[in-house]
Amino acid sequence: MRESVRPDAEVCRAWVREAAARVAADRDRLTQLDSAIGDGDHGHNLDRGMRAALQAVEDLGETATAGEVLAAAGKALIAKTGGASGPLYGGALRAMGRSLDESGDLAAALRAGCDAVRKLGGAAVGDKTMVDALEPAVKAYEETCDLEVTADAATTGAESTMTLRARKGRASYLGERSVGHLDPGAASTALLIRALVTAARDVRA
């Protein structure tokens, strides 16, 4: 088995940059997904939040630790995104930051981020939320320490929400009518995990 990555501040900064770019590029697609089963603003909100996160990270001094980078990004996400995704993604990044400054290990940090989302949102796998992309990705990384396998697990997990009936979040109001649509939160989670994988790979290369 491969060894778990130990992301430094440079990887974390690259992650936030990559994530902001990918969210901006996919903004309209995410909003479109949210129009089908939510209130049609996920892409726009997350784009606003990620731009604030990127600015916060760029404003940090050179000596910031990996944990400080993620804490700053998380705080900006909570302050600027709104909705449920602000506290959920912001809380996840802050938990990951604390974990990285303690252990330095990506597997532990991913688990901490996933735990934060589950605790705040109260969602489990199968509820048609971001947890459906996040939990399988974290599990895949814990088992393989393979970045590509991790990103693929997030994507597969997000796609699995297509057939699910939502039990949490705004899509749950639709009951059976939520079936047949991708969950926008799971889709953006897969995108953020893909950004992390790209950042970790590019910085190491």
């Binding site: 909003t31 129009s35 089963i37 939510g38 209130d39 049609g40 603003d41 726009h44 909100n45 606003r48 909570i78 302050a79 600027k80 995104t81 709104g82 909705g83 449920a84 995704s85 602000g86 506290p87 959920l88 705040l120 949102g121 009936r165 039990r167 949490k168 979040g169 705004r170 899509a171 749950s172 109001y173 639709l174 009951g175 009518r177």
Partner: protein, 329 residues
């Protein structure tokens, strides 16, 4: 879709600046995105803070003033406010006897208000939160995020605000807000979807001969789609859903609320049907007909009913002076 806006991203602060210009009795922080009553903080009075996504006006900023809310925090359109802005509003109105957060039950609102309450507690301010979840269209079970908060929010803000004005303590003000919520139910019907300024497209497509039953206030589709029917039948569907959950008798407070795009005459048509259907079984003691909890330009209506007690009726009648509700002063 045409809109009276300067730029989609400026709608919320621009509207706040207009609110400030129109209502000098309010203090508005357009950048910080909150409005407080002009004499805040009122020493010795429990302060009421509410908030939620923009697009539901006059909820919540139109209900700031003596006898109702001390502060309102509008988020982006259909997006909950963020903790920083809720915290700033909470601190601005804290009169030393605690602050009540009135929160509509949506995951985003709940999480952001919760974070703000924790931050306020760190600053030594006692905050209690009451969740409003009156929409019977949503099944209240572990299979959903729970019922949405809609029309009962107006009732809770008015009645709890009246009790706070009489200098009742935080537990009593919170308790009366919970009582209003428990005694109230709502159901909404949409004839067309709302168009969010940022996207410029309706949230869902609804053919000319179809309606959405059990629709929410954020442009999300409803529980089921049904053929367009006469007002009597649409009202019947709504009241049947409400009465399946809360049998109606005694004195009622009834609101027929527009979604933002419905002519007032049509709302009165609906109200007439409500009155006809309740005749002989319950008394409409007080009524409210108009646009109070809107969904931008959505057409349709919602019905909210509260089973009054003599005390709730007294508090409803108490003086109020806000941009959207004012009487008795």
């Amino acid at each position: 879709m045409k809109k009276v806006i300067n730029a989609p991203e400026d709608v919320v602060p621009d509207a706040l600046r207009g609110l400030a210009a129109a209502h000098p009795g309010l203090r508005v922080d357009a950048e910080g995105r909150f409005a407080v009553r002009g004499d805040a903080p009122v020493r010795g009075k429990v302060a009421l803070v509410s908030g939620g996504g923009s697009g539901h006006e006059p909820l919540h900023t139109g209900f700031v003033g003596p006898g109702m809310l001390d502060a309102a925090c509008p988020g982006e359109v259909f997006t909950s406010p963020v903790p920083d802005q809720i915290l700033a509003a909470t601190l601005a109105v804290n009169g030393g006897t605690g602050v009540l957060h009135l929160v509509k039950n949506y995951t985003g609102d709940v999480l952001n208000f919760q974070l703000a309450a924790e931050l306020a507690a760190d600053e030594g301010v006692a905050v209690e939160s009451v969740l409003i979840d009156d929409d019977v269209a949503v099944e209240d079970s572990t299979h959903t995020a729970g019922r949405r908060g809609t029309g009962a929010t107006v009732f809770a803000e008015k009645i709890a605000g009246a009790l706070a004005e009489e200098r009742a303590g935080l537990p009593a003000v919170a308790a009366v807000a919970r009582e209003v919520n428990e005694r109230s139910r709502s159901f909404g019907v949409a004839l067309s979807a709302a168009t969010v300024p940022a996207t410029g497209r309706p949230g869902f497509d609804l053919p000319d001969d179809q309606v959405e039953l059990g629709v929410g206030i954020h442009g999300e589709p409803g529980r089921e789609r049904a053929p367009l029917a006469p007002a009597a039948e649409l009202v019947d569907r709504a009241l049947t859903a409400i009465e399946a959950d809360l049998p109606l008798s005694g004195d009622l407070l009834v609101m027929v609320n527009g979604m933002g795009g419905t002519p007032l005459a049509e709302l009165y048509v609906a109200f007439g049907e409500v009155a006809r259907r309740l005749r002989g079984r319950a008394t409409i003691a007080r009524s409210l007909v108009g646009n109070y909890v809107t969904s931008l330009d959505m057409t349709g209506f919602s019905i909210t009913v509260c089973r009054l007690t003599p005390e709730l009726l007294r508090l409803w009648d108490a003086p109020v002076e806000t941009p959207a509700l004012r009487w008795g002063r």
